[in-house]
Amino acid sequence: MHILEAEGLTLRFGGIRALADVAVAVPKGGITAIIGPNGAGKTSLFNAISGFYRPERGTLRFDGADITRVPAHARAALGLARTFQNVSLFRGMTVLDNIKLGGHNRLRAGALGALWYLGRAAAEEARLRAEIEREVIDFLEIDHIRDLPIDALAYGLQKRVELARALAMQPKVLMLDEPVAGMNREETEDMARFILDVQEERGITVMLVEHDMGLVMDISSHVVVLNFGQVIASGTPAEVRRNPAVIAAYLGERAARRRVA
């Protein structure tokens, strides 16, 4: 069963084709990795799925419904959560408030209820707080930083807070754009453990863009390879690793890098 299916996605920036007729099917409950050289279109694919790039062609189906025309905020409400390649937290707020924002769609208070606060708004805020403490903060081991402003955190912790915010959305699909970029060995292992727990214990489908091939091969159940905006291979990690087109794409990149250096 596929929880997310993209077909014929095409996205252009001026002369650059970021996505060219991309088809991706994401199996429910697994970890799907999207890999490919720099500029291959991985982030663009995430942006098209989460809804703030409008592809010029193609369709998207999520959990049985066509979401091609659904605006970004409504896709989030349907159960699509994501993190960004360059951390995108709200710097003026504390860690806790950032995470609470993930719960936005599960709360109901309107403007008047919020102004009055007492009663319903206060009760649902208390519920959210308790739930976040239990299911997100304890789980990701970030109790010691909940009251700190984002700027006070090291990069690795910021990435973890961004994951926390996405988890607070209780999504069906979690899209992680380079979750371990810039992390040391230990932080990477922690993150890998969290991702596996999210998938195994909560049944959340994970999509993952990552350059760390060790991590990709270790934890993903399905791999899609992009190059110049096109899908050049997909399959199990073992299949993809043997695929000559993939090897060529990566060797090509390495060769090109050598020429530049």
Binding site: G51, F52, F90, G103, H104, G113, A114
Partner: protein, 347 residues
């Protein structure tokens, strides 16, 4: 310097102490507010009423501009809507406790009319739309004579409760002060909930706000409606206080006055709203005193320059704070407090 572990283990006690101390302070403050018009004399009571109105209006503007990032150049016009609404409501025999919410609602409704077309587009466009609203509403105030009384304006009867007239500053004070306290509390409450968090998220990074499921359009509209509601109530109180509504009261200079208040006080801060509104209430009084002295010392024409002088000072304050202290008086206050908190171990 507070150290993390220390803070964590004593957090509970500290919070308890904190709230108890805060309750005592709040009680004292409320008592002082209740006693104020009896102790303060007529001039200070007048100033307090004016401050109350400015507080409500500035709180509304800070919700939209400071917290949500929507710059409004038409706040005064929305106050005008509230003021005229109260004049009309009183003529229809509607009592003040209904007329004031109606004034807020009327203003919020016009806010929606302006906001729905202009909030779909980002940034400057909205500011220009509010500027247009400022002038269009001013035009309506002047020309719709049957309702507004044109340039001569409309009289506003005193608010009355079961035949008891809230006439005179001291009595109106007891209408304005409680409302100002309530509406500041309301503004504070907003930011303890998902609604206020969404506002800040939109201001800080609207792309990631959307990815969290926040509809930018809906929440910008909500912020604008809340801000306009506050302006409407403040305008209504203005009517009950000055007992008159005229078009030139609610012009662009007053809108700029409120922008100055929240910039000087601190954008996106309740404390900033309070400090800024207080500061800006006192500035014109100070300038008037200054001009008075100048006249007393033989500069007989000094009075002529009062109005332009005021505009120049407001402008300088806006620019000065934006350049040198963008977080306003609230930040200066926090810095001072931190200084004494750490003193003498760290300076």
């Amino acid at each position: 310097m507070r150290i993390g572990d220390f803070h964590a283990s004593y957090r509970h006690d500290e919070a308890l102490f904190d709230t108890r101390a805060q309750r005592v302070w709040l009680g004292l403050l409320l008592a002082a507010l209740a006693a104020f018009p009896f102790v303060g004399g007529s001039y200070l009571t007048y100033l307090a009423c004016l401050l109350g109105i400015h507080l409500i209006a500035a709180a509304g503007l800070n919700v939209m501009t400071g917290y949500t990032g929507l710059i409004s150049l038409g706040h005064a016009a929305f106050m005008g809507v509230g003021c005229y609404a109260v004049a009309v409501a009183e003529r229809a025999g509607i009592p003040f406790f209904l007329a004031l919410p109606l004034a807020g609602a009327a203003s919020a409704a016009i806010g929606l009319v302006v906001g729905i077309p202009s909030l779909r587009i980002k940034g400057l466009y909205f500011a220009v739309a509010t500027l247009a609203a400022q002038f269009v509403l001013g035009f309506v105030f002047r020309e719709w004579e049957s309702v507004t009384g044109g340039v001569r304006g409309a009289n506003v009867p005193a608010a009355s409760l079961f035949g008891f007239e809230l006439a005179g500053d001291r009595r109106v004070y007891f209408l304005i002060a409680p409302l100002a306290v309530l509406m500041l509390l309301g503004a504070r409450n907003l930011f303890r909930t998902r609604v206020g968090r969404a506002f800040i998220a939109i201001r800080d990074r609207d792309i990631s706000a959307e990815v969290l499921g926040i509809s930018l359009f809906r929440y910008k509209l909500a912020a604008f409606a809340i801000g306009s509601f506050y302006a409407g109530v403040a305008g209504g109180l203005w009517g009950y206080f000055f007992r008159v509504a005229t078009p030139e009261l609610f012009g662009l200079p007053l809108s700029v006055f409120y922008l100055a208040a929240i910039i000087v006080g601190g954008l996106g801060s309740i404390l900033g709203t309070i400090l800024g509104a207080t500061f800006m209430t006192l500035i014109p009084e100070f300038l008037r005193a200054l001009v008075g002295w100048a006249e007393a010392f033989g500069l007989e024409q000094a009075g002529v320059y009062l109005a332009p002088l005021r505009q120049v000072v407001f402008g300088l304050l806006i620019v000065g704070f934006l350049v040198f202290e963008p977080h306003g008086l609230a930040e200066m206050w926090r810095r001072t407090r931190r200084f004494f908190h750490l003193w003498p171990f760290r300076t």
